[in-house]
């Protein structure tokens, strides 16, 4: 036995074994689905039928390397590199399968990623997340990582690699609508978030100062949080329609029983609880002795609030904002149901037409946006925490 440190570990990595099992199953399952048109059931094709022999070989070898790396490779950086390479190869070859399977000149036939592709993507993403968690990257590198992933995605889509796949076929016929709904989706998510922050943070401060207000407000918001989102939309139709009809000018600025207004109001209502409660908790967590010192030094109430309480509560408030943003990006999908727009439009249209590809056109951007926001804001929270709260916990 040599004493020299090895790149490889002697014992297999537990998660690595699980990933290997997932990859094995994923390789067996069909990679692509070929259908005569967008609605009919189609033919599921495994890797060796969905790709030319050479490319299928490349994919299988790449997956094999990833499996070995995730089981035995000890250095997280190398495992990360391997898994990212694996994802890239999988994505590019999936696009290749689109071109390979679509009969020349046939605009109706659809090739879409099938169970095998999704399982492989999941297994490789698991390796990426695990390696990233083990590397304990500084927040700034995580932010950079998200930006790089975004650039990678844009390159992949911009290069036309995926143009023959069904999701992009759906996109090509409604690209104008896609960007319009994307804009609306972001407007709903960020608009309701901004309103919730503008109103929720002062409300949280008031709750912190007046304990009786606190229990009343938090209880009410807790109840709001438990009402199913669809029910909220339903409940809002009558009052908003009444406002639009009664108050002059309300209809002109876009208030109506259905559409964007009730969606905005509902998202705002759901956003309030995390913002208000995190503001209260953040302020309550400022240690009594630090507040005592601030007043003992001769700070006025306002000075103590701005110079001590707000900076120390900030990371917790930011955590509330992160919860709301991720939640709203997901929830905004429901707005599609009541004519509020957003990516939900494609999801519900797709459900109506039993067109899975159209559902994906709405769902995939939502998932990607929510994930990216979560990672970005987690990093920002960590940056703000590092200076403020470390000694508070000690």
């Amino acid at each position: 036995m040599s004493a020299r440190p090895s790149l490889f570990s002697r014992l297999p990595d537990k998660l690595g074994v699980l990933i290997a099992a997932l990859v094995a199953v994923g390789t067996m399952l069909p990679l692509a689905l070929l259908r005569a048109n967008r609605i009919v059931p189609g033919e599921a094709l495994p890797i060796w039928q969905a790709l030319p022999a050479f490319q299928a070989g490349i994919l299988i070898v790449a997956l094999l390397i990833c499996v070995i790396a995730s089981i035995w490779l000890r250095v997280p950086g190398l495992r990360l590199g391997g898994a990212i390479g694996g994802v890239a190869i999988l994505l590019v070859l999936m696009g290749q399968a689109g071109g390979y399977l679509t009969p020349a000149g046939n605009d109706l036939a659809r090739v879409s990623p099938a169970a095998g592709f999704w399982l492989l993507l999941f297994a490789l993403s698991l390796t990426v997340t695990d390696a990233l968690a083990k590397m304990k990257l500084r927040p700034i590198w995580r932010i950079l990582g998200v930006l790089l992933a975004g650039v990678g995605l844009l390159l992949l889509l911009g290069s036309g690699q995926w143009d023959d796949l069904s999701v992009l076929r759906e996109y090509q016929v409604r690209s104008a609508a896609f960007w319009r709904e994307a804009e609306r989706h972001l407007l709903l998510a960020f608009g309701s978030l901004s309103a919730a922050v503008l109103i929720g943070v002062p409300l949280g401060v008031a709750c912190f100062r007046v304990p009786r207000l606190k229990s009343a407000v938090l209880n009410l918001l807790n109840i709001v949080q438990t009402v199913p989102s669809i029910a909220v939309f339903g409940l809002l139709i009558a009052p908003l329609a009444w406002i639009a009809a009664t108050i002059p000018g309300a209809a002109r600025i876009g208030v109506s029983g259905i559409g964007a207004a009730p969606a905005m109001v509902a998202l705002f209502a759901y956003s309030l609880l995390p913002v208000v409660s995190n503001t209260v908790i953040g302020l309550e967590n400022v240690p009594g002795r630090i507040r005592d010192a601030a007043f003992g030094m001769g700070m006025t109430r306002r000075q103590a609030f701005m110079a001590v309480e707000v900076p120390l509560a900030f990371p917790v408030i930011l955590t509330g904002i992160r919860i709301v943003l991720v939640q709203n990006i997901g929830l905004a999908t429901i707005a599609g149901l009541i004519g509020g727009g957003g990516f939900g439009v494609f999801v519900f249209q797709g459900m109506g037409q039993t067109a899975t590809d159209l559902i994906l056109l709405g769902a995939l951007p939502t998932v990607i946006l929510a994930t990216a926001s979560a990672v970005l804001l987690d990093a920002v929270v960590e940056i703000s925490e590092s200076s403020a709260t470390r000694t508070m916990r000690a």
Binding site: R289, M297, M299, A307, L312, S387
Partner: protein
């Protein structure tokens, strides 16, 4: 001079401080000692009006404190608390500069003052100015806490269990440092503690409190020799009385001429430490030196006479 006149504080019908009057002379250290719940911290916090008295008044140098806005009063009085209460999101320098900044000092003057205080407390300014509080040891944090309290050069410093969070060795060092700094800058200090040893070794006068009432306010020797109530006597502890008396004296005041053998004792050591050394080494007398030079001897008999109850 701080004059407390008939101070009373009632919380929800419970009297926590009951009709306390006492006068603290300028440049002196007054320690307030008592068990928890004795009202000692509330009494201290009434001086800078973190607690509003229910009745009674406080005069500082003849001026009634209730006539000044509370935040202005507090900027003129240093305040150091247990566990230091440093602002965790601000550097050591910014922490120390808190009150000067509130008073609107110029940047350059604040910076100079911060460095001066770091020096005074034995913290190299270049090394410590920009550190964050969590990067300091407990003893260093405590020193920064006191430096921050002294930043604007207040005449009065209030300290609430300032050494409570320190381990015994660092604590003794911190107490010595405080005495040295107080001798240098002459600040009037009011210090709250639950530790009778600390009260005796630091205070020119000791206020003993129990259940909101002031039982006795007197110099340490008086408190030990003539405890005013059974409670004060119990707090002193009858077994420890002679040794507490000894602890109040310095060896240099008891030196006599004559020979003695064995290791020397420092003239600035307290008499209790010297007596312990003589007992332990089985000697009747020991040489005394000051600044390394022999200055005479100290004898067991001389020490014992100091341990007797004064008449």
């Amino acid at each position: 001079m701080i004059e407390l006149q008939s101070l009373t504080k009632i919380y929800d019908g419970v009297t926590v401080v009951d009709d306390v009057s006492l006068t603290i002379n300028s440049g002196e250290i007054a320690t307030i000692v008592g068990t928890s719940g004795s009202g000692k911290t509330t009494l201290l916090r009434m001086i800078n009006r973190l607690v509003q008295p229910s009745s009674g008044r406080i005069l500082i140098d003849g001026e009634e404190t209730s006539s000044i806005p509370a935040y202005e009063l507090r900027r003129r009085i240093g305040y150091a608390i247990q566990g230091h209460g440093l602002f965790p999101h601000r550097s050591v320098g910014r922490n120390i500069g808190t009150v000067p900044r509130l008073l609107g000092w110029k940047q350059a003057r604040i910076a100079a003052r911060v460095d001066e205080l770091l020096d005074l407390f034995g913290l190299e300014p270049g090394e410590f100015r920009d550190r964050m509080p969590h990067e300091l040891s407990g003893g260093q944090q405590q020193r920064v806490g006191v430096a921050r309290a002294l930043a604007a050069g207040p005449n009065i410093l209030l300290m609430d269990e300032p050494f409570g969070a320190l381990d015994p060795i660092i604590r003794a060092k911190a107490q010595d440092d405080l005495l040295a700094i107080q001798r240098r800058i002459g600040t009037t200090i009011v210090l709250v503690t639950h530790d009778m040893n600390e009260a005796i070794s630091l205070g020119h006068n000791i206020a003993v409190m129990d259940q909101g009432r002031l039982l006795q306010f007197a110099p340490p020797a008086d408190i030990i020799a003539r405890p005013g109530t059974p409670f004060v006597e119990a707090l002193i502890g009858s077994e420890d009385r002679p040794f507490r008396m000894l602890a109040l004296q310095r060896v240099r005041d008891l030196i006599e001429k004559g020979p003695a053998s064995g290791p020397a004792i420092d003239a600035w050591a307290n008499a209790r430490a010297a007596y312990a050394e003589l007992l332990w080494s089985g000697r009747e007398a020991a040489p005394v030196q000051e600044g390394g030079a022999p200055v005479g001897r100290i004898t067991r008999a001389a020490l014992q006479s100091q341990a007797e109850k004064p008449v």
